[in-house]
């Protein structure tokens, strides 16, 4: 005869499931990698003579880092904390100083004419430069450009750049381009050309 089996107590099932859940929550990763994103310039074709793009000297903001991690912006030694302000000043060039990048009036869709700076930040490093210093300098350059974009966005739209919608962001990007050139590698410290 079939006997009546006693019920299995299932009240601890929730505890077991919770335990598993916590285990998975702790051991798995959902973190998103963050960092500074860059686009490398394409490699010039081998048999093609590399054309020197003629950029007026005043438009190039040279940032050099040597193997002792000393930084130069333009022709003066600079501390990391000052890079941002220097680049902001040079790219905005409020007084139209002839030694700083010139501006070119461009018609921007949705905005009208705006004097866009032709400044290009050229970043040069030595083989012996620490990666950390390099990233810090990259970070400062991006920070300078973000600050200019924020300024522009607040002036024209009354909002920070990050809060604008996509169309407006595109306009801001066009008005304040991020021109960073990562030069062909060369030794900065060893003899000048």
């Amino acid at each position: 005869m079939a006997r009546k089996t006693p019920d299995i107590n299932a009240s601890s099932q929730a505890d077991i499931a919770f335990l598993l859940l916590v285990f998975f929550l702790i051991t798995t990763t959902m973190d998103v990698d963050k960092g500074i994103s860059r686009k490398l310039p394409p490699m010039p074709e081998e048999n093609q003579q590399q054309e020197d793009v003629k950029i007026n000297r005043r438009n190039i903001i040279v940032v050099k880092i040597n193997s002792q991690d000393k930084i130069m912006v333009g022709s003066s030694p600079t501390d990391v904390s000052q890079i941002k302000d220097k680049i902001v000043e040079m790219l905005s060039n409020p007084t139209d100083n002839p030694n700083m990048p010139e501006k070119e009036v461009k018609a921007i869709k949705g905005l009208g004419n705006y004097p866009v700076s032709k400044g290009v930040v050229s970043l040069q490093n030595d083989k012996g430069t620490l990666y950390n210093t390099y990233i810090q300098v990259q970070n400062e350059i991006v920070r300078a450009i973000n600050e200019l974009r924020d300024q522009f966005a607040t002036q024209h739209y009354g909002k920070k750049y990050a809060q604008l919608d996509e169309d407006h962001q595109k306009i801001v990007k066009e008005a304040i381009p991020q021109n960073i050139s990562e030069a062909e590698p060369k030794d900065v410290t060893k003899g000048k050309k």
Binding site: A14, A17, V32, S37, L130, N132, Q138
Partner: protein
């Protein structure tokens, strides 16, 4: 009003917890499916540099990782302490990046190859020489979108 009497004789019925395990299991399965275990074993020590102006990596499935740093202590007897490049699960030289990128590119569907990103996870104490070599090699393979992975740091 005397509508809600306190301390009435009727006690509230107990809430049934019978469905609690089901809910928790559902959560469990969600996490099991949506998260991933670490894919590769780290062979190099990487302490990422810190930056404030970080952007998020958008498509993790379109990303290839290159690790650069000193070998982990257990491998140092064999490989020394000089900075090394790690691709997938082994130490590689700069020249092998080309094959690595080609293989990674193969594994991405054709329409999305343009968006392929190389994430460079380099220790903050490596020298730029090795990084520059990697960058030059990436340019040669036309893998031009790169991301210098960094920790988030508060602006001062």
């Amino acid at each position: 009003m005397g509508r809600f009497r306190k301390g009435g004789k009727k006690s509230a019925p107990a809430i049934s917890t019978a469905s609690l395990p089901d809910i928790v299991f559902m959560l469990l399965f969600f996490f099991m499916i949506s998260t991933s275990f670490r894919q590769t074993d780290k062979l190099v020590q990487v302490k990422l540099p810190a930056a404030t102006e970080n952007t998020k990596l958008e498509r993790k499935d379109l990303t290839s990782y290159i690790y650069v740093g000193a070998p982990i202590p257990s491998k140092q007897a064999q490989y020394g302490t000089d900075s090394r490049i790690q691709l997938n699960d082994s130490y590689k030289t700069v020249n092998e990046i080309r094959d690595f990128i080609a293989a990674e590119r193969e594994s991405i569907s054709e329409g999305e190859r343009e968006a392929m990103t190389v994430a460079l996870k380099a220790d903050e104490n490596v020298r730029m020489g090795i990084i520059t070599d990697i960058k030059q090699e990436l340019r040669r393979c036309s893998a031009l979108k790169i991301l210098y992975v960094a920790r988030q740091r508060e602006a001062n």
